[in-house]
């Protein structure tokens, strides 16, 4: 009987210890993985960059012809 109880106690100590060790390691691995990913593939910036550079490009390099066509279209639509 006492044997069974001590077996249960061992299982509890080892089991709980192992679950904590494993999940602590998982926290470490996950954090490290996230840091590496953020470092080598900065996700949000590439998305933001094209939109910022794209807008002024249209404004500056947009041909006068295009502006004229659009203006004409708007006038036609409004009249």
């Amino acid at each position: 009987m006492d044997n069974l109880l001590s077996e249960g106690l061992t299982l509890m100590v080892f089991g709980m210890g192992f679950v904590f060790t494993f999940l602590t390691l998982l926290v470490g691995v996950t954090t490290m993985m996230s840091k590496l990913v953020v470092k080598f593939e900065p996700a949000p910036q590439p998305k933001a960059a094209p939109t910022r550079s794209a807008l002024p490009a249209v404004a500056q390099g947009g041909s006068d012809e295009l502006v004229a066509v659009i203006t004409a279209a708007v006038h036609k639509y409004r009249s």
Partner: protein
Amino acid sequence: MDKLLDLWLASGIYNISLGQFVMIVVGLLLLYLAIRKNFEPLLLVPIGFGGIMANIPEAGLAFSAVENAVHFATPELLAGFAAVLGITSVDPHDVLHAYHTSSASVHAATTLFANDNNFNNGMLYNFYTVAIASGAAPLIIFMGVGAMTDFGPLLANPKTLFLGAAAQFGIFATVLGAVGLTSMGLMDFSIQDAAAIGIIGGADGPTAIYVASLLSPQLLGAIAVAAYSYMALVPLIQPPIMRALTTEAERKIQMVQLRHISKLEKILFPLSLLILVAMLLPDAAPLLGMFCFGNLMRECGVVDRLSDTAQNALINIVTIFLGLSVGSKLSADKFLDMQTLGILVLGIVAFGIGTAMGILMAKFMNKLAGGNSINPLIGSAGVSAVPMAARVSNKLGLEANSQNFLLMHAMGPNVAGVIGSAVAAGVMIKFVG
């Protein structure tokens, strides 16, 4: 007149035993809870119906060919079984006992002998063999759960894994409770039984069934019914414990919004978890391997068809057979004894302790982090029961502060609980399997 007598002697009314009658009532009760009260209907409908079918007198749907043969056997047939099994007694109980304890080769020979005499496995027995005894159904369901799980909240705040770990204390405390009851002479559980009962505290149906099928198949029916009933009762069991252990001010704590998680991180997480399992605890590999596989299918984005099947069609098919198979274990001789009562009591204790430990851990982490960044209510979600436990945390948070949306924060510990209970299951299988 003889014909009429034969018909009467073969009827259910003539043959039904009290135990079978009680179990049919239990099956009807499970159906009532599922249909009327909406308790985990996806599982309790098949389990309840399977339970009723398993107890139909003389049909022997839940029994193997040999058990059916012995039930109907003539004295000559029993003598034949005794010869195959190498025993001298022709008492049906002795024959069955010898059959259950025999080696695999003798077991097969006995089954073939029964087949030769035109006896076959019951339908539910076959379902059980294919779905649960092989370990397939719980693992396929785990794959589907993986495909349904979004690890985003966990990745945004990896520390919530500690909450999932703390809540597993309920499992091990219950193991101690079960062996304690045995030491006091109140129950008769082996250490394997105790481990299988403890897993109920993980609040994870497939894990509980998987562990029970490996460690303690004779208790599987009671353990599965307890696990699924208590999962349905999460919204009733947890809130009183959560209110008792937290202060009004703590429940009002608002948490900062979670950061955005890139797709690459979500793809790498299941792979990192798999490698960690492979290195440290191969015994948890079946459960966590399937879980990671399902999650990778979801996140990688190139096999949407497979992911869709795993989380919808396949999991539904498997659930039907899993439920019926669990129902087949609800036969009177296995379910109606004091052990079942003990399992039901220990199961709810396991649940309560798990919830309490999760909350205490969250309070501790909150203190460490300065006292105003982690709402202890999310700790209770560390027992798996996805997503019910997280919803309970959210509801209590809203009660304390109507601007306090904890759902996403609680999903972190919630999925951490799934990983935690699978790890705990691996440890159990390793140590006592």
